[in-house]
């Protein structure tokens, strides 16, 4: 029994991002995932997995969009089902150890009883709410639950759990082992009237008070006979546990999307369903695109950016330090991943092509290496990315190759960038390498963006079309911290 909320039945799971961990930290996905999870580890894991497995077809994304729309409409029912499966967290695990077989046996029977209750609860949701759902995914799920969890089925389960309650008076069959010791203990059903026949059978009777050895021998024999039953019961419980976990994982993504949407609405930020385009498109439109993780960190609205670009392979973003360039780059990466896993996106509008894979190459802060060592480290990371690159991929560079002088850095950066875009790879490059940037002035399929700076030196954190300027605004930053800070102190 499987739910197919994430993929249509028989659809293959999308490939995982080869550099998932780097993406997660460079794009600050942790914040985003925490907001989706709202404290639930399973949601976190499911959403992380989805984000780092970008879907590669418009149909697959559409399937999730439809399922998500249904979930948003019936969020109470979806959350109810999720809570039923999440009760798994409260079940204590127990271990089967040879010395505590009787205990394990009883725990297993009890566990089956609890899980059967969960199944009944799920059936009830299906019975009551099925007609409210319209998506293919949820309709199939409810049909399956009603079909497989019939009243007859619950009766069959009860017949076993009731029979296995009593550990006394066991009938056990056995054969002779290699040394003629008794082996292959199997519990046997006692037919009606069996006692009449057994009553006169010769017996070994032990003195319970005086022969503790024999008493524990009998207990061991009983344990040997019930161990198979216990392991079967535990296996059955494990099947059910896996089933609930599976269902939980399928629901988790949608619960996460609902949670995130509600959070963004709290901050008054827009959330939209993106418009994915085929892989061969080179057009992008974004309106009010913002960094979701930044908003979650600041717990308030943040600045969004707009642009409509067509036939563009290379975006070069330059401009003031602390001017919102990295934030912009992150918002672009986040939106790309969110779009490709069927999530809503942090923007008013986001129209973009699907990409085979997304890679980030961000400057590492706080690097204590010697210069040569740092360049070596940077190039090593680049080489890892290159191992996985393919046409149709997308790479976000954030101040790459600044660990050497500008001339060398620009040259390496130019050579790499040029190779990528010529191989049909979309590149976003935030850079201070002026020599690198100006080589693309007037080039085809290239857009220049600039961190906005007004006449009064005030940063707006807006990224607007604009060609590179020679200086970065480190002085601004200095002024803001020192001069303004002093002024504020004087007030």
């Amino acid at each position: 029994m499987r739910a197919h909320l994430m993929y249509r039945e028989n659809d293959a799971k999308a490939k995982a991002s080869p550099t998932g961990l780097t993406l997660k930290s460079d794009l600050e996905l942790g914040r985003l995932l925490e907001a989706m999870a709202d404290g639930d580890k399973a949601i976190y894991a499911a959403c992380e997995d989805a984000l780092l497995r970008p879907l590669q077809s418009l149909e697959a994304i559409k399937y999730r969009h439809d399922t998500l729309a249904d979930a948003m409409k019936n969020r109470d029912a979806v959350r109810r089902m999720y809570i039923i499966t999440a009760q798994l967290d409260n079940i204590q695990t127990y271990y089967m150890s040879p010395s505590r077989m009787a205990e394990a046996f009883q725990m297993s029977v009890e566990l089956l009883r609890i899980y059967t209750k969960f199944l009944k609860d799920l059936r009830e949701v299906a019975d009551r709410r099925m007609q409210d759902f319209s998506s293919e995914a949820f309709k199939n799920l409810f049909e399956m639950l009603r079909r497989e969890l019939s009243d007859e089925y619950f009766a069959e389960v009860a017949s076993f759990t009731d029979e296995l309650k009593n550990l006394d008076n066991l009938l056990i069959s056995a054969r002779l082992g290699s040394n003629l010791q008794s082996v292959d203990y199997t519990l046997r059903r006692k037919e009606k009237g069996f006692w009449l026949r057994w009553k006169l059978t010769p017996a070994i009777t032990i003195n319970v008070e005086k022969d503790p050895e024999a008493v524990s021998d009998l207990i061991m024999r009983r344990d040997r006979a019930t161990s198979e039953a216990t392991s079967i019961l535990k296996q059955a419980a494990k099947y059910l546990e896996d089933f609930f976990n599976m269902l939980r994982g399928e629901l988790a993504f949608y619960v996460g999307c609902i949670n995130l949407t509600e959070r963004m609405q709290e901050y008054g930020l827009p959330v939209c369903m993106p418009e994915p385009q085929p892989h061969d498109s080179w057009d992008r439109i974004w309106t009010g695109l913002y960094d979701v993780s930044l908003a979650l960190t600041k717990e308030s609205a943040v600045v969004g950016n707009d642009l409509a670009a067509s036939d563009t392979r290379l975006y070069i973003i330059t401009g003031a330090n602390q001017g919102g360039k990295s934030t912009f780059l992150r918002s672009m990466g986040q939106a790309q991943l969110m779009m490709q896993c069927g999530m809503p996106v942090g923007a008013e509008r986001f129209k973009a092509p699907l990409r085979r894979a997304l890679f980030t190459h961000f400057k590492k802060e706080e690097d204590n290496y010697m210069k040569s060592g740092r360049l070596d480290e940077e190039l090593k990371r680049l080489s890892v990315i290159a191992d996985h690159l393919e046409p149709g991929a997308m790479v976000l560079f954030n101040e790459s190759l600044t660990s050497t002088n500008e001339r060398e850095g620009s040259e390496i950066c130019y050579q790499i960038t040029q190779a990528l875009i010529e191989s049909d790879i979309e590149v976003f490059s935030v850079t201070h390498l002026y020599a690198f940037a100006i080589r693309y002035l007037g080039a085809e399929k290239t857009r220049f963006l600039l961190a906005e700076r007004r006449e009064d030196s005030e940063r707006t954190f807006k990224i607007l079309p604009g060609e590179p300027l020679k200086t970065a605004y480190g002085e601004d930053l200095y002024n803001q911290i020192f001069v303004r800070g002093m002024a504020a102190l004087a007030d």
């Binding site: 029994m1 499987r2 089967m96 077989m101 497989e148 389960v157 076993f160 029979e163 296995l164 006394d168 008076n169 066991l170 009938l171 056990i172 069959s173 056995a174 054969r175 002779l176 290699s178 040394n179 003629l180 010791q181 008794s182 082996v183 199997t186 519990l187 046997r188 059903r189 026949r197 057994w198 059978t201 010769p202 017996a203 070994i204 009777t205 319970v208 050895e213 024999a214 524990s216 021998d217 009998l218 061991m220 024999r221 344990d223 040997r224 006979a225 161990s227 198979e228 039953a229 392991s231 079967i232 019961l233 535990k234 296996q235 059955a236 494990k238 099947y239 896996d242 089933f243 976990n245």
Partner: protein
């Protein structure tokens, strides 16, 4: 007819062997080596002497080069991992059967009457079955292997004819038939508190079959087994025996067959095969011992053996102290290897040079490889030609013995005298720092006498001494020195090389260490000026 994997003939095998370690084991640290070899790791890291009775074989030097070659051939063949694995497995299987049979014999002849029961006879049947299976399998494996050594070839032929023999096949057939009958026995126990009843099984339905089916529709990807291993033997063996008696009452014919089978095959193992499975550990335990050393790159080789009449050329390339190497496995100290070569009329190596420079280690290595060669094992080194000695006379410096009340010099002389008395024309001498407790003049005189005596034996020997003069004793002596590197710090290299004695080496080493060599001093003083 094959008799033993350690000797070509039965007569050689029956000659007496040393029961105790030879005296030189301690001085040469061979006690460490062979204690480790004769010990096996038991459960919980406990170590125990193994029970194969191999001590005498490891202790006793062989007097016949033919036996040495017999063993070397077997050992060389056993270096093949897959062959050795098969042989070790066979030996282990039979060793276990032997141990189990010891218990069966003990039970069936015990004064505790209840131990004489069907359960013990079941164990005997199990042993017979396992024995037959192991022997047949191994024989067929050996016959498909092109064996080279006379020893293993001889055993393979012996085993082949044994497996084809009528008595073996009769035993095999009877065991099979009996097992077939016993496997049909099936019964039911009714366990109620304090009692247990037994009847034939009468087709009662399995209680839990079908349970898993009911739940299998929830199964996701992974399958995990929750089977708990509960040992399938009874806690109370007496109860098990009684239970089996009750079962036997329902199946009287089968159990009376079992009874007569156990009577006939009370002793069923072939002595020669059992001897092989014990003695093969002589080789297996040695190879196991040296395996980690070989892994670190230390070489072992099969020495050629110079007859006693003709010690024309002895040599060893890259030899080393085995006990030291084994101790250094954990600490990963690099082991320094050394060469030596003796060409007629050279017989006596006199080692001088820096203290702590590896002289004693060199002497030990020399002795060790001669003992190892003399019992037919491989020896440390890349290549070697060694002398087949009957005994190794070691004279190592000892703590003063308070009990004897003798002075140290006297003690030295008494021991030397004793050694010379016992030495034959085939005994090797290893003398390590003798006469240190007397004046130089005395030491020189006594040392000269000693050299005369050893030289007159005509056997290869090693003398470690601070007396440079001994190295120039005569044409039979070869001078070797522990050397220090000329890096100005006189770092010890633990290399022992052929070199005329150089009285300054030790002093220079110390001086260099304190920065007091001519050069060092000139330089230091130069700066002060």
């Amino acid at each position: 007819m094959f008799y033993s994997i350690l000797f070509p003939t039965r007569e050689q095998h029956e000659k007496p062997r040393l029961e105790r370690e030879p005296d030189y084991f301690k001085d040469l640290n061979l006690d460490q080596v062979f204690n480790a070899i004769l010990t096996e790791e038991k459960a919980f890291g406990k170590k125990e002497k193994n029970s194969f009775g191999l001590e005498g074989f490891f202790y006793t030097p062989l007097d016949d080069p033919e036996i040495v070659v017999y063993r070397q051939e077997v050992l060389r063949e056993l270096e093949d991992d897959s062959l050795r694995g098969q042989i070790a497995f066979f030996a282990m299987s039979l060793n276990m059967i032997e141990a189990a049979m010891a218990y069966v014999h003990d039970s069936l002849t015990s004064l505790q009457k209840w131990r004489d029961n069907y359960l013990t006879r079941g164990q005997l049947l199990d042993c017979v079955e396992k024995y037959c299976q192991a022997v047949i399998q191994f024989s067929s494996f050996l016959s498909g292997t092109g064996l080279k050594s006379a020893g293993l070839r001889g055993f393979a032929e012996y085993l082949k004819s044994y497996v084809e023999s009528a008595p073996f096949n009769e035993m095999l057939g009877r065991a099979k038939k009996l097992r077939e009958e016993l496997s049909k026995v099936e019964f039911c126990m009714l366990i109620k508190f304090g009692s247990i009843r037994v009847r034939r099984y009468e087709g009662q339905e399995d209680l839990v079959k079908g349970l898993l089916n009911t739940f299998s529709k929830f199964k996701q990807d992974e399958e995990r087994s929750f089977n708990v291993y509960l040992p399938e033997y009874a806690q109370d063996i007496k109860m098990e025996a009684n239970l089996l008696n009750m079962v036997a009452a329902y199946y009287t014919d089968v159990f009376s067959d079992l009874y007569s089978f156990a009577g006939k095959y009370f002793y069923f193992e072939d002595e020669t095969i059992v001897r092989f499975t014990n003695e093969i550990h002589f080789y297996l335990s040695w190879l196991k011992y040296i395996a980690p050393l070989k892994q670190t790159g230390l070489p072992f080789c099969y020495p050629s053996i110079c007859g006693c009449e003709d010690p024309a050329c002895l040599y060893s390339r890259e030899g080393f102290d085995l006990a030291l190497a084994a101790r250094s496995l954990d600490s990963r100290h690099e082991i320094v290897t050394n060469d030596f070569e003796l060409n007629y009329p050279e017989r006596i190596i006199v080692v001088t040079g820096a203290n702590q420079g590896g002289k004693t280690t060199f002497a030990r290595a020399f002795g060790q490889m001669h003992h190892l060669a003399a019992i037919g094992l491989s020896v440390p080194g890349r290549a070697a030609s060694l002398y087949l000695c009957d005994n190794i006379m070691t004279h190592f410096e000892r703590e003063e013995n308070i009990d004897t009340l003798n002075g140290k010099l006297q003690d030295d002389l008494m021991r030397l005298h004793d050694l010379l008395q016992r030495a034959t024309s085939r005994s090797i001498f290893i003398v390590n720092e003798i006469f240190v407790s007397t004046t130089l003049t005395d030491a020189l005189v006594l040392g000269g006498h000693m050299m005369d005596a050893i030289a007159s034996l005509g056997t290869p020997s090693v003398v470690v001494t601070f007396l440079d003069e001994l190295a120039l004793h005569g044409p039979e002596t070869v001078s070797m020195m522990s050397i220090v590197s000329d890096d100005g710090l006189a770092t010890r290299t633990f290399k022992i090389i052929r070199k005329p004695p150089d009285g300054l080496a030790y002093a220079m080493y110390l001086a260099g260490k304190h920065g007091l060599t001519y050069k060092q001093l000139k330089s230091r003083l130069g700066k002060e000026q």
